[in-house]
Symmetry: C2
Subunit: 241 residues, 2 copies
C-alpha cells in the first residue's frame, strides 16, 4: 500500500518541522488502513521525521537513510563517500550520522543537488540539460578521492546514467532501495509477519490526482500503476465539513 | 500583507482542484487579517482558482492573467504571442481565453516550461544550465513569427536575461507585474480605498519557515524582507488541538 503526497510535494525544500508534520499525517493514513510496517521511502522525510515517527507509530517503521549508509560503507575502498540529496536531507546531517555510526573514520562530502528532482519529474534523464546540471554539481568529486556516491533521494536513480558518466568509472553509485527492501523482508521474517505468498495487489493512494504523477510513477515502477485513489490527507477542517 | 505557501509550494505541478482548495484557504487567511483587496499573485492559482475566489470572497479579487494578457496584446505587432508557464497554467488554457477575449484574431503558442521554476529557486539565473534549459524550451519560437513572449509565472522574470538572449532581439518579453500593480491602484482609487500616504509596512506570512524562502524572496523583492511570521494555513485538525 503506497501513499504519495503530490498535493504537498516536494518535501526536500521544506523545514524539518513541516516535513515531520506531513510525515506524521501520511503515516497516520497508512495506519488507518491497517498496515503492519511503514517504510518511509523518501530521504527528506527519513532524515527529518524518523525519530518522531518511531515515537508515535504502533508498528515498526524505518527509513531509507540507514540502509543507504550501510550499502555505501560496504562499497567504499578509499573511505571517501559523497552523499547527494535535497536541501532538507543534506541540511539534516542524517547521512553523516548514519555513516559515522557504522564506520567512524570515513570521510564524507555532502552536497545538496536539488535540481535533480525536477529534472527527473520533467523526464529529462539524459540530455544536454541533465549533463550540464550533473557537471555543475558533481565536477571535482572524483578528484577528491571519492569512490562512492550515495544517491540520497528517491528521484536520483533515474539519473544514474548521466551522473555515472560525469563522475567516471572510478566512482560507484549507491541506491538504497534494494538494501531497504532487504531490511524490510528480514524484519518481517524475524517477526513471523511475512505473507504466505499468492498474488500481490498494489494499492496507490495520492493526496492529489495531479496529471503528471502517474507518468512519473510508472517511470519509477517500470509497469502500469493500475487504480490510483485520492486520499484526503492533511486537509484543513473547512474542507472536511 | 503577503501570504506565501512554501509548505505546499509549488502550485504549478498540481491539479486545478487542489490548487483551488489551497487558494481558498490562503485567501481566507488574508481576509481574516482584514485586507481590502486580494491579488492572486501566482499564475497557476490565478488560472485555476479565480472564479471560485470571486464567488467566495467579500472583497475585490483579481489575478495576474488578465493584466498579463492585456500587456501582451498591447505589445504584439505580428499578432503571434507565445505564453510560457507551469504545467497547471498552460493546461488551464486561461491565457488563451484572456487573450482571445481582448483580441480574437491573435495566434497563440502556449508551452509549459516547468524547469524554469526550480532554476530560479536555485539561483541559476544565467549560467550554462539556464541557457541549455531555455534553448530546449524556446528554440524555434522566433522562427514561428512570434514577437511577444508572455512570462506566465512569477518566477520567470528572474530568468528574463537568458530567455531574451535565446529568443533574440525580435521577441519582446511581457511581465504582468507592472500591469497588475497598475490595475490594483486603479481599482482602489475608483472605490476611494487608496491609503492617504505615509510610511508603508510590509508584513510577510509564510506557511513554512523554510530556510531557502527568505533568500529567494529577497532576490525577488530586491530588498530585505524584515520580519517574517509563520501562518498555520491548511493544517489538518490533529495539529490544531
Amino acid at each position: 500500500m503506497y501513499f504519495g503526497d503530490p498535493a504537498r510535494f516536494p518535501y526536500g525544500t521544506k523545514s524539518a518541522d513541516t516535513i515531520t508534520r506531513f510525515a506524521v499525517e501520511d503515516a497516520g493514513f497508512l495506519l488507518s488502513r491497517g498496515v503492519k510496517l511503514v517504510i518511509v521511502a523518501c530521504h527528506s522525510a527519513s532524515s527529518a521525521a524518523l525519530p518522531e515517527l518511531e515515537r508515535r507509530l504502533t508498528v515498526p517503521v524505518f527509513g531509507v537513510v540507514e540502509p543507504g549508509a550501510r550499502a555505501a560503507v560496504k562499497m567504499t575502498r578509499s573511505n571517501r563517500i559523497a552523499v547527494i540529496g535535497t536541501n532538507a536531507t543534506i541540511a539534516s546531517g542524517a547521512y553523516e550520522h548514519a555513516i559515522r555510526r557504522l564506520k567512524p573514520d570515513v570521510e564524507i562530502v555532502a552536497k545538496p543537488t536539488p535540481l535533480f528532482v525536477p529534472l527527473a519529474e520533467e523526464g529529462w534523464l539524459d540530455n544536454e540539460v541533465a549533463e550540464a546540471v550533473a557537471r555543475r554539481y558533481l565536477a571535482g568529486l572524483a578528484d577528491e578521492g571519492v569512490d562512492t556516491l550515495l544517491l540520497g533521494c528517491t528521484h536520483f536513480p533515474l539519473l544514474a546514467c548521466v551522473i555515472g558518466r560525469v563522475l567516471g568509472p572510478k566512482v560507484g553509485l549507491v541506491d538504497s532501495s534494494e538494501e531497504t527492501a532487504a531490511s524490510a523482508a528480514e524484519l518481517l521474517a524475524g517477526q513471523g509477519l511475512l505473507n504466505p505468498g499468492g498474488p500481490v495487489r498494489h494499492r496507490f493512494y495520492l493526496s492529489d490526482l495531479a496529471p503528471n504523477f502517474q507518468t512519473v510513477g510508472e517511470r519509477f515502477l517500470g509497469e502500469p500503476m493500475g487504480d490510483v485513489m485520492r486520499a484526503s490527507v492533511g486537509e484543513a477542517p473547512e474542507r472536511m465539513q
